[in-house]
Every structure is written in structure tokens, then in C-alpha cells.
């Protein structure tokens, strides 16, 4: 039976709505016992559902909040890695950690994040036909910074692409990661997948922070 934890935040799509009242609501959510991360936050220049200025403002505000709360951040960054990197460097990487979720860019774009100790998770996109660059990145990430995800109900992996995704489908993503990383025998597969699991638990299966424990509920 899966153990369930929660990340809470304001998605870049909704940045235009982020005001003092929404931040107070987020602060209250972050104090809930199941919450282990602040996310998903970041920049999305693909849809631009919120103005870029708002996205950047809200990204910065939530990075600061995460550092105050002692929580890791889960990032949604689409077609905006360079700007996101600039903001993260400027605000400072949260000590609790950074997870770049649903990574779909190149190794070259990812490399500075990896060198800074950030983690990255790969989802169903790693199985897609036109995803050689994503697979190249997945092959090169140090194993200690590598995680798996589904982003369900989105991004169903092949052979289920086009359907609604669900957490169980990650077995197909896991299989593809093993192939990409050259984990051919059972021992290598076990070691790789145990590492991805361990990385997720280390980052996300956490006790309440001092901020969470000390704040009035």
C-alpha cells in the first residue's frame, strides 16, 4: 500500500492569482503534517497562462517561503530553465533540496542544476519516440540525484500513451530507465531502482521541519 505525502504550492500557471491572502493560505497548508515539500512552483513559458513578471515574482516568493519553512522545492520549469536557474541562484538554493520534476530538456541545460546538487525526476516522456535528448539526460544524471515520477494523470508512458496516467504506470517508465542506464541484469536493475526510491524517500518522506512543528495550527 503506497505511503502518501503531499507537496503544496502555487503553480506558475496560477501566479497571477498569488497575493497576500493566497500566501497565507499556502503557509497554513505547509503546516499540515502530510506536507513535505513546497511545489510545484517555477516558470512556464510554453503556455504563459500568467504573465512572466508574475511568474517570476511568485517563484521568488515561494523560494523564500520554502527556505523559511525548511522545506524542499519541487520545480515545474518549461522552456524557462535559464531564467529559473538565474532566480534560484539569486534567491539561493533551499538547503532542504530542489527537485526538477518531469524533466524534458537536454543534459546541457540540466548540468548546472546537477552540479549544484539538485535532483531531477523523469516521467513517461522518457519512453516517447522523439525523446532521445531526454534519455541522454537521464543516462547522465548521477544516480544519487535521480528520481522517477508519473505526473499522473498526465504523461502516460508508452505503450499506454494517450490514456490517463496513474501511479501504477511507472513500471513502464522504470523499465525504460533501466534500459537507458544500461542496467541489464537483475542486480543492476535492483540497485538502480532502489537508488531512485531511496532518493525520493530521502527528499520527500520526511518528518515535519522545526518551522512546521513550531507554528500554531
Amino acid at each position: 500500500m503506497p505511503r502518501v505525502k503531499v507537496a503544496a504550492g502555487c503553480h506558475p500557471h496560477n501566479a497571477a492569482h498569488y497575493d497576500a491572502a493566497l500566501e497565507e493560505k499556502l503557509r497554513a497548508w505547509l503546516r499540515k503534517p502530510d506536507v513535505v515539500a513546497l511545489g510545484e512552483i517555477g516558470l512556464d513559458y510554453h503556455y504563459d497562462f500568467s504573465p512572466v513578471a508574475d511568474q517570476k515574482r511568485v517563484f521568488r516568493a515561494q523560494l523564500c517561503l520554502a527556505k523559511e519553512a525548511g522545506l524542499p522545492v519541487v520545480l515545474h520549469v518549461r522552456e524557462a530553465l535559464a531564467d529559473a536557474w538565474e532566480i534560484v541562484q539569486d534567491e539561493g538554493i533551499p538547503e532542504a533540496g530542489v527537485l526538477l520534476h518531469c524533466f524534458t530538456d537536454t543534459w546541457e541545460a540540466l548540468e548546472p542544476w546537477i552540479e549544484a546538487g539538485c535532483r531531477v525526476s523523469f516521467g513517461g516522456a522518457i519512453t516517447f519516440g522523439n525523446a532521445d535528448a531526454i534519455r541522454d539526460a537521464a543516462a547522465r544524471v548521477p544516480v544519487g540525484q535521480l528520481l522517477l515520477e508519473t505526473d499522473a494523470p498526465y504523461m502516460a508512458p508508452k505503450p499506454l500513451r494517450g490514456q490517463k496516467c496513474e501511479p501504477a504506470q511507472m513500471v513502464f517508465t522504470a523499465e525504460r530507465l533501466c534500459e537507458v542506464r544500461g542496467a541489464d541484469d537483475e542486480d543492476e536493475r535492483r540497485a538502480l531502482l532502489l537508488a531512485t526510491q531511496g532518493n525520493a524517500l530521502e527528499l520527500l518522506d520526511r518528518k515535519p521541519t522545526a518551522w512546521q512543528a513550531g507554528a500554531p495550527r
Binding site: V6, W29, L147, P167, V171, Q197
Partner: protein, 102 residues
């Protein structure tokens, strides 16, 4: 359950199988990878799934032992927090019923 279902909407599987749609529109079960370690889904949105209980049960049967669900403070309802434990409890019951199938 027959492996070939009638053509139509994507089936909400009550078992631990995965299905793909054939050219004639029927759904057929596909072989799924299995591992001797459990997996952790670092990013999902349980609250957006049609049946989070069934999804958690299927995840458990597939070997997923940890899920981090992501909530949006603008879009999502705070009530989701209160649903997580009932979902996991109901999923655990569901998994126990599915065990004879495995």
C-alpha cells in the same frame, strides 16, 4: 475478466492489468514489467484521478510503495487533505480483495 473488452471508452481497471486499444477499438491487456524492489512516484496528482482509491490500489499491486501528490493552493480544495487517509485505507482494503487474482 476477458482480455479483450468491447470497443469503447478506456476501461477503469479493477484488476492489476494494463490495457491498450487495438485498431478495432477493443482493449487488450499488455505485459507489464515487474521488479523485485518497490518504486516511489515522486510526483503525481491523486486528486485529479477519476478514482484515486482504485489508482492507489493498482499502484500498490504494481509495487509502488510511496507517492507524493501535488496540490495547488489556488486550484485545489483543502478538503483533499482530509481525503488522503480514507483513500489509502479504502485502497488497502481493495488490494486485499485483489490478492487472490495475483
Amino acid at each position: 475478466m476477458s482480455e479483450e473488452l468491447l470497443a469503447g471508452e478506456e476501461p477503469l481497471s479493477a484488476d492489476d492489468l494494463f490495457r491498450v486499444r487495438k485498431k478495432n477499438g477493443a482493449w487488450k491487456a499488455v505485459a507489464a514489467p515487474t521488479f523485485d524492489v518497490t518504486l516511489a512516484d515522486a510526483h503525481t496528482h491523486l486528486q485529479y484521478l477519476a478514482d484515486p482509491v482504485r489508482a492507489l490500489a493498482r499502484a500498490g499491486l504494481a509495487g509502488v510503495s510511496f507517492v507524493c501528490t501535488v496540490l495547488d493552493v489556488f486550484e485545489d480544495d483543502e478538503a483533499v487533505f482530509g481525503r488522503l487517509r480514507p483513500w489509502t485505507h479504502q485502497a488497502a482494503v481493495s488490494m486485499q480483495r485483489a490478492v487472490p487474482h495475483c
